[in-house]
């Protein structure tokens, strides 16, 4: 009995220290980053693409645009392929084959991001440069690399969501004469919707936060991309590229870049969560 209490206390402490770590990081980046945003002014910081820290220009608009463009591209690729795989593995595929394919896709998550970046630079970038034009380092290259990187997250969570749909839904739909495909997209996908949104959110979090692979294939200029063949700089690569040298205001501006990233991720997650709850409720009422 006494031991029980002691152990639960220890576990509580461990859990709290993990959470306090998160709180400390949040407080720290805001403390380091906010002052310079206030000093430079929100307009010059968020709505200007003029980034030249040594001359006192700290505009990060092009990087915000870059991060959003690359993440959107990655989500298109990740969702199309991830959902496709999840539907095939849960609806149209013999259980034995699914048992081999699912772990194989999850294995993708174990490959270090620098390897993805290297593969991108060596194979993907020359292909894009030769056949589509532009420098090769581009929104497209980053989106493809990130799309593959988010695949395991999107796939495995979507599979779990689809498998969690009660069996009678499927049986009922088939009994009503629906084909397998009709059942899959009209019943199963709808019933698993909130799980699929979760998959998308987690995938998006991974894509927007990824750094190493993106630095290698994105090109990192300071201009807003106009086409998917243009190179981009993302918020994360801006921090990682210049971190080693930064001091003083420049360092604060990099923390402010981190604050921006933090807020963007929070907003995206909240929007996605609220949207999924609302859908789920409406779906339930129908």
């Amino acid at each position: 009995m006494k031991q029980d209490k002691a152990i639960s206390l220890v576990l509580l402490l461990i859990a709290l220290s993990a959470i306090s770590g998160l709180a400390l990081i949040t407080v720290f980046i805001f403390k380091e980053g906010l002052p310079i945003i206030l000093r430079v002014g929100g307009r010059d910081f968020f709505l200007s693409s003029d980034w030249e820290p040594s001359a006192g220009h700290f505009g990060i608009l092009s990087m915000i645009a870059g991060s959003l463009a690359v993440t959107a591209g990655a989500m298109v690729i990740g969702l199309v392929f991830g959902l496709g795989v999840a539907i095939v593995l849960t609806q149209f595929c013999p259980a034995g084959l699914a048992a081999v394919l699912k772990p194989a896709i999850e294995l993708l998550a174990g490959i270090p991001s620098v390897v993805y970046g290297f593969m991108g630079v060596v194979t993907l970038v020359p292909l894009i440069r030769t056949y589509l034009g532009g420098p090769g380092l581009s929104v497209l290259a980053s989106s493809i690399v990130l799309g593959i990187m988010v695949l395991p997250t999107v796939t495995s969570i979507s599979i779990d969501a689809l498998q969690a749909v009660p069996r009678p839904y499927w049986e009922g739909s088939i009994a009503l004469g629906a084909t397998q495909w009709q059942t899959a997209h009209m019943v199963m996908l709808k019933a698993a919707r909130s799980g699929i949104v979760t998959a998308a959110i987690l995938g998006m979090g991974r894509a927007i936060g990824e750094t190493m692979a993106v630095i290698m294939v994105a090109g990192n200029p300071l201009e807003i991309p106009h086409s998917i063949l243009d190179p981009v700089r993302t918020l994360t690569s801006n921090i990682a590229l210049e971190m080693g040298y930064a001091s003083g205001q420049h360092r604060q501006a990099l923390f402010a870049t981190g604050v921006t990233l933090f807020v963007i991720i929070m907003v995206l997650n909240t929007v996605a969560l609220v949207a999924s709850r609302r859908y789920a409720r409406r779906g339930g009422a129908r």
Binding site: V121, P135, M216, P231, E242
Partner: protein, 269 residues
């Protein structure tokens, strides 16, 4: 019984940590750490290897991070020697003791398939600021120009900006790469690219063009005719630690200078 084993395990782990910690501490006290410029890093690593061979038991550890990062690490006492591939700014020169270990040219590199063999400073300013957008304007084939630059704070970038760009800014559209190696990789694959990098690291796969009619060679850097040259510095905070000073002396010795010369740099004196 179980509890006894657990206790044993705990003591064992604690003892191992103490031993490991002690070991690391002693090692750190002995190894000379050299931190800074990614341009100097490969040369410093080579020198450190030779030094270790000559003086068994005296380890020199070399890390990159960039010139400015190297200066900061030295100022904070995290590094014994900082390496810097640009001239020190006035306030930095006051703070540190500097030793010139070699000089290096900054080479302007293009893809080997590019027919352009020489550029003037004025043309370089145009190419990198984005005013010149087509290779035809500087005597090349018809096609876009893709300037490749280094990140803010890089010693190579600062040297290039000081020696060529002057007041003009590098175009925002320029691709930014975080090391000499990445610039090299990109220029090697892209016929439209133009970049700048350490002359000693150019190798066979890229074409280094002449600047204002002077070919970028070690002789021309030493003679002072190739104007895109910069110092490679070792900096210390005050007088160097005895073992760090021994390494610096080795680098400045005829033997060390010979190594740097064979590796493509220009000797200090």
């Amino acid at each position: 019984m179980v509890r006894g084993m657990l206790r044993l395990l705990a003591y064992g782990t604690a003892a191992a940590w103490v031993l490991l910690g002690g070991g690391c501490g002693r090692d750190a006290a002995r190894a000379v750490s050299v931190v800074g410029s990614t341009s100097i890093q490969p040369f410093a690593e080579f020198l450190a290897e030779e030094y270790d061979k000559k003086n068994p038991g005296q380890r020199v550890e070399v890390q990159g991070g960039g010139s400015t990062a190297g200066l900061q690490a030295t100022a904070n006492g995290l590094a014994d020697i900082g390496t810097c591939s640009r001239a020190l700014k006035p306030d930095e020169a006051e703070q540190f003791t500097q030793t010139l270990i070699a000089r290096d040219g900054v080479a302007i590199v293009v893809n080997p398939t590019n027919p352009v063999n020489g550029l003037t400073s004025e043309q370089l300013r145009g190419l990198f600021s984005g005013r010149i957008r087509n290779w035809r304007e500087v005597g090349g084939r018809d096609g876009p120009v893709r300037p490749i630059t280094r990140e803010e704070g890089s010693g190579t970038r600062e040297s290039f900006v000081n020696l060529i760009m002057g007041k003009e800014r590098i175009s925002r559209a320029a691709l930014t790469q975080e090391s000499n190696g990445a610039v090299k990789e990109l220029v090697k694959g892209d016929p439209a690219a133009v970049g700048y990098m350490s002359l000693g690291l150019v190798g066979e796969e890229l074409k280094a063009v002449s600047v204002d009619g002077v070919t970028p060679t070690a002789e021309n850097v030493l003679a002072g005719t190739y104007k895109l040259a910069r110092p490679f510095l070792f900096v210390t905070k005050g007088p160097a630690r005895p073992d760090a000073q021994r390494f610096i002396d080795f680098v400045l010795s005829p033997e060390g200078q010979k190594i740097l010369e064979t590796e493509g740099l220009v000797r200090a004196r």
